[in-house]
Symmetry: C2
Subunit: 427 residues, 2 copies
Amino acid sequence: MPTAPALLTDRYELTMLAAALADGTAGRDCVFEVFARRLPHGRRYGVFAGTGRLLEALPHFRFGDEELATLRDQGLTDRRLLDWLADFRFGGDVDGYAEGELFFPGSPVLTVRAPFGEGVLLETLALSILNHDSAIAAAAARMVAAACERPCIEMGSRRTHEQAAVAAARAAHLVGFAASSNLEAGRRYGVPTTGTSAHAFTLLHDDERAAFRAQVETLGTGTTLLVDTYDVEQGIRTAIEVAGPGLGAIRLDSGDLPTLASRARELLDELGATGTRVIVTSDLDEYAIAGLLAAPVDGYGVGTSLVTGSGAPTAGMVYKLVERDGVPVAKRSEGKNSVGGRKHAVRRHGADGTATAEVVSSAPIEPRTGDRDLVIPLVRDGALCDDVAPPEALRRARAHHARVREALPAEAWALSRGESVLETLTA
Amino acid sequence: MPTAPALLTDRYELTMLAAALADGTAGRDCVFEVFARRLPHGRRYGVFAGTGRLLEALPHFRFGDEELATLRDQGLTDRRLLDWLADFRFGGDVDGYAEGELFFPGSPVLTVRAPFGEGVLLETLALSILNHDSAIAAAAARMVAAACERPCIEMGSRRTHEQAAVAAARAAHLVGFAASSNLEAGRRYGVPTTGTSAHAFTLLHDDERAAFRAQVETLGTGTTLLVDTYDVEQGIRTAIEVAGPGLGAIRLDSGDLPTLASRARELLDELGATGTRVIVTSDLDEYAIAGLLAAPVDGYGVGTSLVTGSGAPTAGMVYKLVERDGVPVAKRSEGKNSVGGRKHAVRRHGADGTATAEVVSSAPIEPRTGDRDLVIPLVRDGALCDDVAPPEALRRARAHHARVREALPAEAWALSRGESVLETLTA
């Protein structure tokens, strides 16, 4: 049986539901809000990602016979609970920031309005998807910024869970990565895929020349030859001898990349391969990418640091009950105070179009010139407001992200640790 | 179509295969080795995890009509490649460390012997699974050590990719976590699942008393009541009033936990609830767990830091071609030297049974008293050597891990940053 999304859930959602069904509170009208109390240390903005994946899963979030049998096997045998789950389909409303939108501490990125029983069931899956995808998107956005206009390629599948890899490729493309190595990301989301060869391919052959010849014969002269298996300079000479000066690209995957890239560029030019691009890989992160800005590099392949969120592997969003039967509610004990009530949110902009503040309030916000409403309807009475195919949802999110990041103040793009670049005002 | 494991693959594995098929090298007898060049910064040992998941996936690693159509859609249209893939099933041998085994820099944790074309295809999936699961297992093992004999519960699903969450729950249980919140981990791997309630359940009710009453009526007095939604002391008093002194446990999820736990214990004892356990959660990691050792705590719930590898979210293993047609091969350019040749490995032990070294060699190792062979056969001619159900594979790995960690020298358990606790000798 393939995994049903309903089982990708923490057990306590079901025990709460069972107890709420028993005492009649499961039907109370509730509002749950997803937000981050803070950005990861030193980060200046967040990128909201994963909505498309959550909305893909939502219609399949059901408890069929096999899921119910699983619950019984694990001791969740309450008859009232199982009967209720057998009939369950989410019938509430979901509003949220558009996928690809930026967010700041306290931004109400997703709001679920539903009877308690329906809303509480979505907590685990919603947070899993949004926390993962937003963490990757935020790291990727910093890399895209650091690379300026040079293309970034996602190639981190080998460094993260095999399914997380697909979501990571999607999140990276969302914020501007050009392509991914992951074939399933191509199939499911239409992310362009690329890939040519690894050191193993060179080592398989009797010598580098034989490997290059085999690759060029099959993949064409537009391919990328990996030239650092033995000696980089000799590798480049052999590459151009085999492929001719029309070779698409060379790849460097080790050593001191700024120096190597400069030498490689000079040598390629000397050999007449002035159009052959220089692609660098090898444990790059946003800082290493920035450090290569002055080097003659034409593209970056990024792996480990991307799929692990470059030091911030989860976005730290929580899913909190903020309103019950129209009354704002919030935890009051020390340490983790939250603001109750359903939220409105706008991004405020100055006369030049630059964003100046995130305004969040449980009361309606008096509109000012330059305000942009951030919360849009996503689900009404359980039905998706805009049921588009996964690749199209990603395409739209990518376009939205590109648009909204334009409005950020310039200090957002500093890689150094800083404060949130927009203050969150509670109007 | 559910995800086929064959598409959880980097495109370059297929382009290399296409080129190797074209020039006749795809059939060369190859040995690929999985190893980590180093442990994550400051870590003293690694834990090898994920083998069970990899062996589960292996028989399904095929290219059916839909997978082949996907490849064509992405421009992989080479006729020879597609025909070869249509007939592909892995027919090689896999050897490796037992799941749950410890590893050190250079330990040959997995070895794949197969024609190049078959071996290269497994790289991405093998590394995705092993790097993720080993990272989580290593972090979890430090937490289990820090908790001494007190139980740890995995509850990090909301902080990682929804499928990675299942694997994380499995990896945590492998190294000694008592239970997980994740229902799918219970279904797929037999991990015991637990869970009771969140703050939302208290906030749903008119007051804390009503919430506690509903929970106790449905889940019984053995349940765990979350007492910190409003005021901890009042919460504890109400909990015992509602459930009686036989209440199973209380949970504290915020504030200064050592102080709160001590006060909670005193108050519970005062109220006659001497058997009621104190469970703590709230952003715990191995250091916070160690910091609570003197506090009267009966169990730890761990989330974010566990599923993100507590600072080391990937294990850094690589999959390298080390032998071709019986000849050792290795990359020679600067920066990333590797040792060629298929490896033997033993763990050497002193007279008192304490491990003293990891011995790794491409030549047979002359056995000494106390040596334990580390490499076992996993797959022969494509068939699993020991085809056990996933829960049984996990149970065995858990038992193996518990056995082998006993032999580590005491300094392995220090949480401070240090060197690998065993030196890797190349005999």
